[in-house]
């Protein structure tokens, strides 16, 4: 009975996810200028990008308003809710640009009619999504901590047990073998990274609020994460780590007078975090993109061969999208884990000592 209920709930959630995608895609496909021509690229990038409000499924005239915080050209701060800028409206000299260099961004309209892109610290859809993800992680982890505090040495039950499997896998089986004695020092950072990325990945797969923001498929988000790993790696690096970069043990001809090895090693410092950044970003964005493309197949076929053919595509589209969503769920876990294990390795590689060789 319990199993059946769980299965039904899972099916309903997955169906809602697919429906949400289809709905969004349908809306985007028909909200243009009435022209039946579908522009998949525009739809995909609009879906993957950021927004100043949070769309509600099945009601396209409404968006959950979010605060817009900008600093104008004169250095004054302006804060207002995003619903004031809806449908091209102008507020306080600001509006959302349509087309041009700042497409879909808040711009200040200067007296001479030109557009100025202000310093934009708005709580956009993605920022709100990040806050929600952080809050979820906080709740999740503290729930487990409180369970431990209350039950001590008992075998974990329920949520604590579910999370412990993951913590055990990430900490005991990954971080500790790689870092050894230093594991407890860096584990809080690495575990936070893992759970934060995982939560953001999974939230991105849920179409309706509070999910739907393409968080880890956004370069700014992965950039910050990679930057922090980069800082931790290089700020805690040992003398030997720096010696390996500036004076590696290779024939002197490779180091002087042309600092060949040094240049290569310097590249190595930066390629590692950049690889981290691109890997997570590309994996998550790619997954989202494919899901939308599969859904858009209905409308692409519809506009190319007529509505009937488009309609006939629906079962195939839904099936393919479901498959991709499930695959993305797997990818969410894998990418969060990969980011964590690579961060662990980069940090531990910067902690080499002479006697390790």
């Amino acid at each position: 009975m319990k199993k059946a209920i769980t299965a039904i709930i899972a099916v309903v959630i997955i169906a809602l996810m697919a429906l949400g995608y289809a709905d969004t895609a349908a809306h985007r496909a028909h909200s243009g200028d009435g022209n039946a021509e579908v522009n998949p690229q525009e739809i995909i990038f609009e879906h993957l990008g950021d927004a100043y409000g949070w769309e509600v499924p099945f009601n396209h005239s409404k968006r959950i308003p979010l605060p817009v915080i900008v600093r104008g050209q004169d250095g004054s701060w302006h804060a207002f809710m995003s619903n004031r800028l809806e449908h091209g409206a102008q507020y306080d000299g600001f509006q959302i640009a349509q087309g041009g260099d700042y497409n879909n961004k808040v711009v200040q309209v200067l007296p001479d009619g030109s557009q100025y892109r202000p310093l934009d610290l708005s709580i956009t859809k993605n920022v709100a999504g990040i806050f929600i993800a952080a809050l979820l992680v906080l709740l999740m982890v503290f729930k487990v901590r409180n369970w431990y505090k209350k039950n001590g040495m008992k075998a974990p039950r329920g949520f604590a047990a579910a999370l412990e499997v993951v913590v055990d896998f990430v900490y005991t089986d990954t971080i500790r073998p790689i870092m050894g004695k230093e594991a407890p020092k860096y584990a809080p950072y690495l575990l936070t990274v893992f759970f934060f990325i995982l939560t953001m990945n999974l939230l991105g797969l849920i179409v309706i609020f509070p999910g739907g923001a393409n968080l880890t498929g956004n370069l700014a988000v992965t950039m910050v994460l990679a930057l922090i790993t980069f800082l931790v790696t290089n700020l805690t690096g040992t003398k030997h780590y720096w010696k390996e970069i500036f004076w590696p043990e290779v024939p002197t001809a490779l180091k002087l007078p042309v600092p060949l090895m040094q240049i290569i090693e310097m590249f190595g410092i930066f390629t590692k975090p950049i690889a981290l950044m691109i890997r997570l970003f590309a994996n998550m964005m790619g997954g989202h993109m494919v899901v939308i493309v599969f859904m858009l197949l209905i409308f692409i076929f519809g506009s190319m061969f007529g509505t009937a053919i488009g309609g006939a595509m629906t079962p195939l589209s839904v099936a393919l999208s479901l498959f991709m969503l499930l695959l993305d769920t797997l990818v969410s876990f894998i990418q969060a884990y990969v980011f964590t294990i690579l961060s662990t390795m980069f940090i531990s590689m910067a902690h080499v000592h002479e006697h390790h060789e």
């Binding site: 956009t124 906080l138 910050v224």
Partner: protein, 165 residues
């Protein structure tokens, strides 16, 4: 393309959010969770080691008990064998004794029989002598008339003796 241009605002908030999350979790949650997990792992490891030790102890004890039982069995068999042997010996000895005794009894009986015979012989001889003397006396008393009459008398007495015996 918009997607490949990282927005400063988003990066800024992401950094703030991550920092807050990290600081809170690193201070109040992760160390405690890791410590609890490791303590419990230790406890379980110790429990398993203890159980294994206890099992080894028990196995030892069982082996010892088995050994004791086997020894007791052997001893029992030994005792039984010994008892059987003793019984047989006893029986044999009893038989032997009985035979000797029987022989003694027989011999004693033979001796007494011989004696009785001898006594009887002696008695017979005495009696025969007496008889002969009586006959002789009678013969001498009748030593009168004829020899025939005396001869008849002797015969008569002899017949008497024969009839007696």
């Amino acid at each position: 393309m918009e997607l490949f241009k990282p927005e400063f605002g988003l990066a800024f908030w992401m950094f703030i959010a991550f920092l807050c999350l990290f600081l809170i979790l690193a201070k109040w949650a992760w160390p405690f969770i890791i410590k609890s997990m490791e303590e419990r792992a230790d406890l379980i490891d110790k429990g398993v080691a203890y159980a294994q030790e206890a099992k080894a102890h028990m196995d030892n004890a069982k082996a010892e008990a088995d050994k004791l039982i086997a020894e007791a069995r052997n001893e029992q068999a030994e005792i039984l064998r010994e008892a059987t042997k003793m019984r047989n010996e006893l029986i044999e000895k009893a038989w032997g004794d009985a035979a000797v005794e029987a022989k003694k009894v027989t011999e004693a009986a033979q001796v007494s029989l011989e004696q009785a015979r001898k006594e009887a012989e002696k008695q017979l001889r005495t009696e025969v002598g007496d008889l002969a003397l009586q006959i002789a006396e009678k013969v001498i008393r009748h030593n009168i008339a004829n020899d025939d009459a005396q001869r008849a008398l002797v015969n008569q007495y002899l017949n008497e003796v024969e009839a007696k015996n």
